[in-house]
Symmetry: C2
Subunit: 297 residues, 2 copies
Amino acid sequence: MSSDFPQWASALATRMESTLERLLPRADIAPQRLHDAMRYAVLGGGKRIRPLLAFAAGEVAEADANRVAIAAAAVELIHAYSLVHDDLPCMDDDDLRRGKPTCHVEYDEATALLVGDSLQTLAFQLLAEHRLADDAALQLDMVRILAVASGSRGMAGGQAIDLASVGAELSLPELEFMHIHKTGALIRAAVQLGALCGRPLAAAETEALQRYAKSIGLAFQVVDDILDVESTTATLGKTAGKDAEDNKPTYVTILGVAAAKAKAAELHRDALDAVAVFGDRAQRLREIADFITQRKF
Amino acid sequence: MSSDFPQWASALATRMESTLERLLPRADIAPQRLHDAMRYAVLGGGKRIRPLLAFAAGEVAEADANRVAIAAAAVELIHAYSLVHDDLPCMDDDDLRRGKPTCHVEYDEATALLVGDSLQTLAFQLLAEHRLADDAALQLDMVRILAVASGSRGMAGGQAIDLASVGAELSLPELEFMHIHKTGALIRAAVQLGALCGRPLAAAETEALQRYAKSIGLAFQVVDDILDVESTTATLGKTAGKDAEDNKPTYVTILGVAAAKAKAAELHRDALDAVAVFGDRAQRLREIADFITQRKF
């Protein structure tokens, strides 16, 4: 890993924080409680992996960082909305997120429901009201990509499959199908949107980015499953051991820890192979792949 | 009311049903239960008032009806998502909608949550993936308009204000502020989007449509409040007397039935005045105003 990756990632996380801070409705605008809760759910936490991926993909396409910041914020708002709804009692019923009480615990369930709803809406509003591409038709395509990645055949569909799989015996392909939707779709969208903020790429280049994003999305999930059994609640900032407690199928329950680690390493290699074609321009993408595979939280 | 209005409205409701039927994911595509529940929540019911308004506004701007149908479907999906979430136990906790069990009763809460989430996403996907305007920048503006109308400073914000007002004493201006957001914003968006599918309107014409939409949106709500006390569950297809039971402030609780009816009549006149400028092209808008004020369900 290049020596300045932590600085780069940390500077971008700070930048995203101030971008999101500015784009979210102020807490003193009516309805105040809703706006306050939206800010609570989004600001002050998270690894901001999806924004990092958008920026790194933007570097491949020499994108304007101001444009990438907006696209990355839209993706992060979709991610934040999904966490708020996923933590609700009727879903995963979790009390802790990013080391803080979850939104429905800090506020109430009805507010958390509306927070998730409104964060999703705001994501699409951002993609529509800021200039992100010279060609408006291309920008409309960014809206389409984020919608497809988020909806019933993307992230939300993955959550539905996840719900149906609790207590079920899943095969490895079935587990992979779930994750390709539940977390993978939005990670792929982050990479696509970041790149679309820049100069047009050749079809082979776009395909290379997609291969990278698919591998890194799965690697992220495999590592998540390993951390759930090997880490502590304090380190994770969310409840450790939750998967086993909830009787959820994971890479670890299907493959065991050792084979899950080998799988993560294989996906890591796939991701690096995919972006080799970009040379130096893919440095940040490579570093993120390293980070995702080696992270401890 | 012109003699063929019921036929026009009924033909469009049929057309919307088949448009929505075609645009919703098929129930045999994974995740099947989610897609089945999305179709359950949207198809086979509703007055389709917002689509009718979009078509009527489209006539003013001589819009292509195929384009209006997509824009109207997007608005109707936002409306349907809001009903599914609004009926959840943590919100209004209602069991009956359009004469059928609500989505979380027929399926389960987690599925209903994801249904609402996915219907919202699909609305934005439709506005992005179909050609609705010759100018893509204008179409991007349609995405923005729908997002602003739906989000924390529009419909969802109105629901948050509504939640906060249960058991509270509201003044008439406060009640109006809530409705302008909760139901008014999406009704105004329906009119705007329908018109944007057609030829560009002069600023004064756009403003006239906005005045119409604002009046008709409030009239709709005043009549809703009157029907809640004067009608039966069987006629309404949803639980009658729910507002009083929930101790919700309404036009009837604040003004009384007689003054609420006078208010509805005044708003009806305002709406007709606003669109007088369009002459014959506003015939359907006028008829919808009549229908909304005179409806019994």
